[in-house]
Symmetry: C2
Subunit: 378 residues, 2 copies
Amino acid sequence: MRKVCISGVGITKFGELWSRSYRELIVEAGLRALEDAELPGESIECLYMASMGPGMWVSQEHAGPMIAEQTGLTSIPVVRVESGCASGALALHQAFIDVASGKHDIVVVGGVEKMTDVGAKEAGSIINTMLDYEWESIFGATLPALYAMMARKHMHDYGTTREQMAEVAVKNHYNGSLNPIAHFGRKISVDQVLSSPLLADPLRMLDCAPMSDGSAALVLTSKGDVEIIACEMASSTLALHSREDITTMDCVVGSSKKAYKRAGINPSDVDIAELHDYCTIGEIIESEDLGFFEKGKGGKKVAEGVTSLNGSLPINTSGGLKSRGHPIGATGVAQVAEIYDQLIGRAGERQIELLDYGLCCGVGGSGGSAVVSIFRRR
Amino acid sequence: MRKVCISGVGITKFGELWSRSYRELIVEAGLRALEDAELPGESIECLYMASMGPGMWVSQEHAGPMIAEQTGLTSIPVVRVESGCASGALALHQAFIDVASGKHDIVVVGGVEKMTDVGAKEAGSIINTMLDYEWESIFGATLPALYAMMARKHMHDYGTTREQMAEVAVKNHYNGSLNPIAHFGRKISVDQVLSSPLLADPLRMLDCAPMSDGSAALVLTSKGDVEIIACEMASSTLALHSREDITTMDCVVGSSKKAYKRAGINPSDVDIAELHDYCTIGEIIESEDLGFFEKGKGGKKVAEGVTSLNGSLPINTSGGLKSRGHPIGATGVAQVAEIYDQLIGRAGERQIELLDYGLCCGVGGSGGSAVVSIFRRR
């Protein structure tokens, strides 16, 4: 299998974009990525796209050919993939295999979601479809409720504190305040997190990612500025009750082990990472499952500033899902766009110096699926 | 890229399976495929699955990890793809690239849909999500209505008759009467088609595929009884009004041209084919766009018996979508299962003799996307 590189990225504003349509967003991101890669549209041979549930959000399944039509790429294959919140990361995974195999030379990966066209109640039931319907959502479980159970157990087993979780949100909002496309470009404090409305005890509103509209896109080629040296996927059980330990996501452990092996590096070699902070406890658990920190120490490391912009391992410099926003299908692609910008040195006020390796971790739902990718500046 | 073969297939009964759940169906098909391939579950390295809109049909997106869990394959990657009615064919397309690339050696392709848990009105609106929402379905267009326009234009331009379209349904029901898993295992007559309720003039109820529950699965390896010598995808515009000619599906023309080139064969080399007869006119248009017959002659060939079981190019020996049934995500996989059974000589009363090459054509919606695959007995 041959090398796969990123040669350009594009991203739209994330937020409540009531005046923008689903198709406008993905077209904007795609065109920006092409401009960035300095490639004409005609050079694109295949499009991979991620969207979690466009039929439910905007009454539009079979969006692949629509996007090809809107971008003038009609005739090329368009492959839509879905794996809950990891959909964008999965699109990268499939595009990676495609280019690595030699099937296509120039491929675009796009992710998009338009979540604010439905009301809050309907949005909740759409997000619930990512849980196990027959064992979880039918009984009233919600995604924050499952993360709340994971948080409670993590607090019990490892002494993780409410304040440490809040520090994740504070850090990510700080980073997001430096990111022009972020959904929430403002800083928040630990006190604000702890006094925000309770969603699912112990998680509060400011522990959880918002519902956002937005899109991101990447151009993959066999040559480019940044090489994807590994992209691996694994699954856990979908239902939380089937897991041996709910403070660990087996899919993150499994996919990252495969990715490190393929990349030939260790967790300690990673210089910067974008993790899936759908809830603050998620970032903490992933930072442990990825091998960055010993199990149970993730919260402590955040509070110590290790994962801050000026720490030794900055995590979610983009603002993460919490502050940059979480248009579901776009998220996994936006994570990669941030790592790309960081590795080539154009991340503006968020720029981290002396980077060799970047990592992205996309997680589906409460940890049913994960995709871990590792990147290196060429 | 290395060879990709099919070493086993599995399929459930298709029909209104009110006592069977979504997860039961896909597990049954998957286990049957593994038994057929004589492989233990532990050998499976990756699962590709197709489902059109499970969040809308059964409140279950992110179904990949659920299926992995139910089949005891937790930890492997599970990739869900969607391209409207071509979803199953797209799953094969992605699995083909995967095995061809050397990424995985043993991969399962599964397709499933559970469509009868919702009422008729809701089902209609779910199927409508495969149309262009902003340009078609919002104005009241339905999928049969779009096919009706294609049929009317085909009749106008080429003299295709109402009776010729009915002959497609009659042929496919005859074939389905010989297929134990078919949704409708009964023969029908041209008169019955022509006197069935009008759906969208000139198409009647017996011109259109039913809503079915069911699942099908394949095991792909680099060795096996049947080789996949080509698997190619292309797209057309999603919206019908954007096409230069609505009697042709550019995606079928484009994907089949690529497939013939890759396989090194001509349309006349194909001995048997499974086409996407969502409406009877669909099978006629595809049989022309695939190069089997001159443009405009497809209807005449059906009426002459050329595509019947004892004709020179049998089409839809399984009964097709019309009679075997159309659980959307399963359809593209079920087509391949039929060609596999035919090529290895175990298609029972439907068996065709002296087969070299088989072809499957999956079409999304009204022809927005298509995947064409070509198979050869090894």
